[in-house]
Subunit: 261 residues, 3 copies
């Protein structure tokens, strides 16, 4: 059984969905853009996660990327365009909606990090219960280099999951993490050969999905509950900080440098 969803009319869907053995594989599908998040991908992935949460046939979700990247994070070109086109009403916040959906996702979420991850391509691992990472993948969250600050509650979840100093290397120093360091810091379970990472994650998910949905959801929910308030509060503070820093001289200079490369 296989299905596609979240496509735009007349175009290739930006998120692919495929089901087997109570496991749904969601594939970010903008390979020519390294699966960078534009508004459409933010919205489509949030939609896809909500659909997976609501579907009783789905017990476990695997998240991966099409092509050679996991995801390059926010599409900086698109961010500029969105800001220009936006009217005077309350801004739509597709990035925030995806983060909210992912942070409270009620079923086990398994990442198959098939290649490079930048920004949300790194911080989204803070929402995943299990991650497998390709040997050649490397991850980076260059918030300070861009004159910005963390997102996706990573300023809480990274210290919790990686330890403070590893989190500081990721978020303050904006260092590249190679696959082994991602595992050593606790954000992934295993380094896999590049061509085996998805298969390994899906096999793991299928084994997990032999358990009853009620138990999987109760257990995941209990694990989330203990941290739910602080995750929500942290994301609210992050949103405020980003609003303050976006468009600041340091941010504009960094974007300028990025575009002129």
């Amino acid at each position: 059984m296989a299905e596609n969803e979240a496509g735009e009319p007349g175009s290739e869907p930006v998120v692919l969905a495929q089901d087997a053995d109570h496991v749904r594989v969601l594939t970010m599908n903008r390979p020519d853009k390294l699966n960078a998040f534009n508004s459409a991908l933010f919205a489509a992935l949030a939609d896809a996660l909500e659909a997976a949460a609501a579907d009783d046939e789905v017990r476990v979700v695997v998240l991966t990327g099409a092509g050679r990247a996991f995801t390059a994070g926010a599409d900086l070109t698109d961010m500029g365009r969105a800001r220009t086109e936006q009217g005077s009403g309350p801004a739509p916040d597709p990035a925030g909606r995806l983060q909210q959906t992912a942070e409270s996702f009620p079923k086990p979420l398994v990442a198959a990090v098939n290649g490079v991850g930048v920004g949300l391509g790194f911080t989204i691992l803070g929402y995943c219960d299990f991650a497998f990472i390709a040997q050649s993948a490397r991850l980076r969250a260059p918030f300070t280099q861009l004159g910005l600050s963390p997102e996706a509650s990573s300023s809480f979840l990274f210290p919790l999951r990686m330890g403070w100093q590893n989190a500081a290397r990721a978020l303050l120093a904006g260092e590249w993490f190679d696959a082994q360091r991602v595992v050593d810091s606790g954000l992934a379970l295993k380094v896999c050969a590049d061509d085996a990472v998805l298969e390994t994650a899906v096999a793991f998910a299928a084994q997990l999905a032999t358990g009853p949905l009620e138990s999987l959801m109760a257990t995941k929910g209990l694990m989330l509950d203990a941290y739910r308030d602080v995750v929500t509060q942290t994301r609210a503070r992050e949103t405020e900080a980003l609003a303050r820093l976006t468009g600041s001289p340091a941010n504009l200079a960094a974007l300028q440098a990025f575009r002129s490369r």
Copy 2:
């Protein structure tokens, strides 16, 4: 100086207690049942911990199991019987009382994991300040396989102590953890030879017990205080989830499969 307590009249006590050098060793003593917790063992171990907490001569407690197992967790046969015999009044909750006693135990608690641990035999390590584990021991919390959900605040304490992904392997995937993995994930300090684990734990405890009781209790209390509210809240949520799942079709099918083995 040695003493026994918590026995039933005319039978071997289900918890043995032995004192030396301000260290009390508590031994779960149903070796023919792999020290599985029936109501009597739940109650006796809670009693024994309360007595140790109240005794000024006791500075440190070591917890271990008689025979080849640490503890096989809740005795599933006994759970069924208890549910059948129970009247319409409020249910006694010896398991809850033991967890409450252990989660707030005011003195250092050292585990000597002498053999296999299942369910609470794994999750009780979330309450221990130090653990030593026998080379041949292995631990598992098969909540999802039984159609159930976590207990002993492990849905908070395991992510805190093991990291999120290791906790998810333990609680969501219900994997077996061998002794080395228990150490690598932060739930125990050291793998010991099977015949040396108790001796090692007792020697460590005796060294610890050279410190003044007031300082040991103040320090342990401060470490607990920071997490006390969330531990209590988590256990309350776990109790609700277990009440909802117990007797569910998935749970009954799993128990049926267990009994027909």
Copy 3:
């Protein structure tokens, strides 16, 4: 550019400050006392951190010790004298002021642990975002041996940063941690040759300080915010416990033994 501050009139300053590349190096400078904290050093280091926080030219601070020690912690001789000289008014609390300043320090804080650290010389690492440690350094927080209890919110921050059992070894057992164990437990990033630790820390800080101040402060602030309340509450509880234990028979006996060595 170099400057000195926080000196006493007519004497060598107890904290040295030196700036380069937006990095301020603060050096605890009582080398003949192994940089033990007397009231003057507590106050001078708090002053120096406040000045660094307020100076827009400073983006990152490095903390180290002069001579062969990092810091031997509270100067036990001075503690006795302060208690004797103190009148009936509210006690000044220079140790508390330093801890408050360090726990909320709004810019990245890098430790260059150049040698032995005792008490606050260990627990202050709970406030540092990055630490580099000399190969021959070793750290110990002998609170229980002194009849005392933890400080510097270490009863919360050590379990968070090191895992529970490593924290218990540090705080309950008062064990010595050698440099490698400090790294393995997550309190430092890297063991360095003794003569390279400061240079390594400063180079790391200089790289970090190429980022814009606003982003570094926003990110550090977000990381602190998630834990701010519990850190403050924990230090308040620690202060109460220390007030109760200071002067207790166990504490007096330990101090007596210390002075007669």
